[in-house]
Symmetry: C2
Subunit: 445 residues, 2 copies
C-alpha cells in the first residue's frame, strides 16, 4: 500500500480520554475511533491487525478439528428464558424489542444458541465428539466501558462449544482447547499464562483463564516464576491423543498461578520465596467445563450406546479477539509507539523514501515495493512529501517490525538501511539483500 | 475435511416453510438454520460459501484501491438525528435503548458513520479521492421477512462510500464501482445486469441496481436481450482512468434495462421487438451518486484548492453479500440440489468412497485427499458407512462442482470416476489424472 493512497489518520496529540498505553496508541495510530461509549470503528490499520488476530485464532482452532459456524448477533429472548439466563444475566445483557413487540437480545455469549443448534440436529452418541465455534461480534452493556477496545461494549470474541458423551471426553476437549490457546497466543508473540479461575455466572467445575502479564492489567495475579520459562514452541501434537493433551495441561498448570479471585495465600507460601511473583495481568481467554448445566436445561441429549437418552457434557471456550489487539500493544510498545510482533503486524515492512521526487530514490522504492509484493509480503510505502523526521515518527508510532529507508546518499553506495523497530538497530545492505533478509524473517508464517 | 468429522446436518425432508428453491436447498443442505423470523445461523457449509463470496468482494474492491474498515453494528442515534434520518427511516430501523437510557440503533446502512469518520479526519482536497468500505452485518426490521437469506432481517452487506471534490470525480468513482461490481459478480459465476434504478430513501441523482435474472426474483425487469451477451471477461482495466471506466459504463448501460420502478413503456417500444424481454430479477447490488446530501447536512467539508471549504460529493455502493448466497443458488440448481460455480464452492471436490473399510479403496481415497490438499485444494471426503446412493444424493444436494468416486471395481482397472455436477457427465481416469484435471480447473482462482 502506498501511504498517499491509504487512509491512516494518525494524531499528533495524545487524546485526553485515554488512560492506558494501548488505548492511547490505538487512537494516535489511527487504528480505531470511538463512536460512542465502548463502541469503536476499526479504521483500516486497526482492522488489518484485528483480521490477523482472527486468522490465527481460526487456523489454530481448525488445526484441532474444531468447526466454524456463525450465529446471528440478535436473537429471540426465548432461548434465554429456557436456560434461565434471561432474568439472571443482569443489566449487561442488552435487551430490545422488535417492531412486532417480540423480546430480543444482542448476544453477549452463545451457550443457548449453540445448544439449540446441537439439539436440533445431533441425535446419536456416534456423532460425538463435536466442537463448534464462531468468531462473532458480541455486546455487553458495561456500566463503565473503558481502556478502549480492552473493555468495550461491542467486541469481537471467539466462542467455542464442546459436546461430549462423558465427562472424560469433555475434559479431553477442555485440555485440547488449552493446547490450542497456548499455540494461538504464542503465534501472536504473546505469553499468556493459564491460571485457575473462578467460574462466574456461566457456572462450571473446571476453568482456567489465560492472562498476559502487563502493568495495566485489571487483575492482580500470583504465580511461580518458573511458569514464565515455559513455552509451547513448535512441538507437534496429536489433538486426538488424550495423553498428549493431558500432558500439556499438566506441564502448564502444575505450578502455582492464580488471579486474585482464586488466590490461596497458604498455597502460595509453599512456592519458594525467590520464585513468588505478584503482578498484574490482562485476561485474553478462558476455558470452561460446565457439565450438563445447559444440556439438561435445554434438553440437549443424544441416544447413548445403550439406546437411552443422555444429556451431553459441555464446555465453552472463549478468546477475546478485539481485546487481544489492545493486550498485544500493552505488551509491545515503547514511548515512540507500538512494536508489532511479526505474527500480527498490519504491514510486514515499511518503506521510507527520504527524498520523494528524486528519480533514483523513487525508482529504488518502487522496485523494493514490487519485490516485496512479488514474495507475498505487504509493504507500506511512505511516498508522501513529508520530511524524514515525520516519516520516521509515523513508522515508529504504527509499529511495523521492519523498516527499509531509501535515500540518495545510500543509493550512491548501492545500499539502503534496514531497521528493526524492536531493537532500533540499523544495518546497511543492498536492496536485494534487504528483500531477502525480510522475506526470510516472514518465511513460513 | 472428512465428513465423519464434519458437521453437515442435511435434511431428508423439504421444510414446509420454504417457498423458493434457494431457501429450501439452504435448509436441506445444512447451510443455515432459522433462529427467529429473518434471522439465521450460518452452519459450517453455509459459512464457507458466505466467506467465499465475501473474499471475492474484498479482493475486487481492493483491486480498485478501495480501503476496508469496519463500523460497529450498534451506534448512537445522535448521528442519525443530525442527518435527519432517525425520524424519516421508518419502522425498518431497529431502535433500542442502552442501560443508561441512551437512544441507539442497529445500523441498516452507514452513510452517517462513514461521513462522521470522514469529517473527523479529512481536511484537505489533497486527501481526495477516497473510497472507504466495509463488509458488516446490518439489520432491517422487515415487517415480513421471507425467502430465507434473500430477505432476512440480519444480513451481511458490503457498503462503500466515496468522497470526492467534484461531481465529475464522484461520477468517476461511480463508474469505477460499476466496473468492480461487474467483475465481482462474474467471478462468482453470476450474470448481474446493471439497470437504471429508483433512488429511494437514500436519495440520489444517479443510481443503478444490479439484477440477476431468476424466475423467483422479486422485481419485474424489462431489457434489451443484447445486454445478456455482454461480459466483462478478463480484460485489464486501469481504475484510475476516467475514460476506461466511463467506456465500461457506456457499454453496459447503453441498452434498455430497467426494473418496474423505472420502466418507461414508450422507450422500451423502441427496442426491436425480437430483443424485448420481460423477466424477473433478484437485486444483488446498487450504486448511488447522491451529491452533497450528507456532507452538507453533517458538515463534511474539505479545504478546496482556493482555501475555501467545499462540501464533498459522495456516493454509496452496496452489495448484498448474504443475499448473494441465495441468488447464486436461485441461478444454479436443479431438482437434485445446488450446483456451485467453481468460484464460490464450499469444497473444491467431493471424494466418495463406495466401499468404506475396503483397504484398497480407503487407501486410494486417503491418497487422493492428501494430493488435493497438497495442491491447496479443499476436498470433502465422504468416509462414512452410508450406502453409495445416499452418498451421491448428499453430494448432489450440497452441489460440489466435481466428484471423484472411488470403488474396488474401478481400482482393479486402476481408475476412479470424475463427475461434473453441472453436466452429470462422468469420465474414468487414473487417480493421478483426476487430481491433475481438477487442479487444472481451479488453477489461478
Amino acid at each position: 500500500m502506498r501511504l498517499s493512497r491509504y487512509f491512516l489518520p494518525v494524531l499528533k496529540e495524545t487524546p485526553a480520554e485515554a488512560q492506558i498505553a494501548s488505548h492511547r496508541l490505538m487512537l494516535r495510530a489511527g487504528m480505531v475511533r470511538q463512536q460512542s461509549a465502548g463502541i469503536y470503528s476499526w479504521l483500516p490499520l486497526g482492522l488489518k491487525v484485528l483480521r490477523n488476530v482472527e486468522r490465527i485464532v481460526h487456523e489454530e482452532q481448525q488445526r484441532a478439528g474444531h468447526i466454524p459456524l456463525l450465529m446471528p448477533t440478535l436473537q429471540s429472548a426465548d432461548l434465554w428464558k429456557e436456560s434461565g439466563r434471561y432474568d439472571a444475566y443482569g443489566e449487561e445483557l442488552l435487551r430490545l424489542t422488535d417492531r412486532h413487540g417480540r423480546d430480543m437480545l444482542y448476544s453477549p455469549t452463545a451457550e443457548e444458541l449453540f445448544t439449540d443448534v446441537f439439539r436440533s440436529y445431533v441425535k446419536s452418541y456416534k456423532d460425538l465428539p463435536l466442537t463448534l465455534y464462531q468468531i462473532q461480534w458480541k455486546f455487553r452493556d458495561e456500566i463503565r466501558p473503558r481502556f478502549g477496545v480492552m473493555r468495550g461494549r461491542e467486541f469481537l470474541m471467539k466462542d467455542g462449544y464442546t459436546f461430549d458423551l462423558t465427562k472424560e471426553d469433555a475434559l479431553h476437549a477442555y485440555n485440547r482447547h488449552l493446547v490450542t490457546y497456548l499455540r494461538t497466543y504464542e503465534r501472536m508473540g504473546l505469553q499468556a499464562i493459564p491460571m485457575r479461575a473462578d467460574s462466574g455466572p456461566i457456572g462450571g467445575d473446571d476453568t482456567h483463564e489465560f492472562l498476559v502479564l502487563a502493568d495495566t492489567g485489571e487483575s492482580e495475579v500470583f504465580y511461580d516464576s518458573e511458569i514464565t520459562d515455559l513455552s509451547f514452541g513448535d512441538r507437534e501434537i496429536d489433538y486426538d491423543s488424550v495423553e498428549q493433551c493431558q500432558a500439556v495441561l499438566e506441564e502448564f498448570t502444575s505450578r502455582y498461578a492464580r488471579t486474585d479471585e482464586t488466590h490461596d495465600a497458604a498455597l502460595f507460601e509453599q512456592v519458594p520465596e525467590a520464585r513468588r511473583r505478584v503482578a498484574r495481568g490482562i485476561e485474553v481467554g478462558q476455558i470452561f467445563y460446565f457439565g450438563t448445566k445447559y444440556s439438561e436445561a435445554m434438553g440437549a441429549t443424544v441416544q447413548g450406546p445403550d439406546g437411552k437418552p443422555v444429556p451431553v457434557h459441555m464446555g465453552s471456550h472463549g478468546i477475546g479477539v478485539s481485546r487481544l489487539v489492545g493486550a498485544l500493544i500493552e505488551a509491545n510498545h515503547d514511548d515512540r509507539g507500538i512494536i508489532w510482533p511479526e505474527g500480527v503486524t498490519p504491514f510486514h515492512v515499511g518503506i521510507v523514501n527520504l527524498k520523494q521526487g528524486d528519480a533514483e530514490a523513487d525508482a529504488a522504492c518502487d522496485s523494493l515495493y514490487a519485490s516485496f509484493a512479488a514474495l507475498g509480503l505487504d509493504p507500506l510505502y511512505d511516498d508522501t512529501s513529508e520530511r524524514a523526521g515525520g516519516k520516521f515518527a509515523t513508522m515508529d508510532l504504527i509499529g511495523l517490525p521492519w523498516r527499509v529507508t531509501v535515500g540518495p546518499r545510500g543509493l550512491k553506495n548501492g545500499v539502503v538501511e534496514v531497521t528493526s523497530r524492536r531493537t532500533g538497530e540499523s544495518e546497511e545492505m543492498t536492496p536485494e539483500m534487504a528483500v531477502e533478509k525480510i522475506a526470510g524473517i516472514y518465511a513460513g508464517r
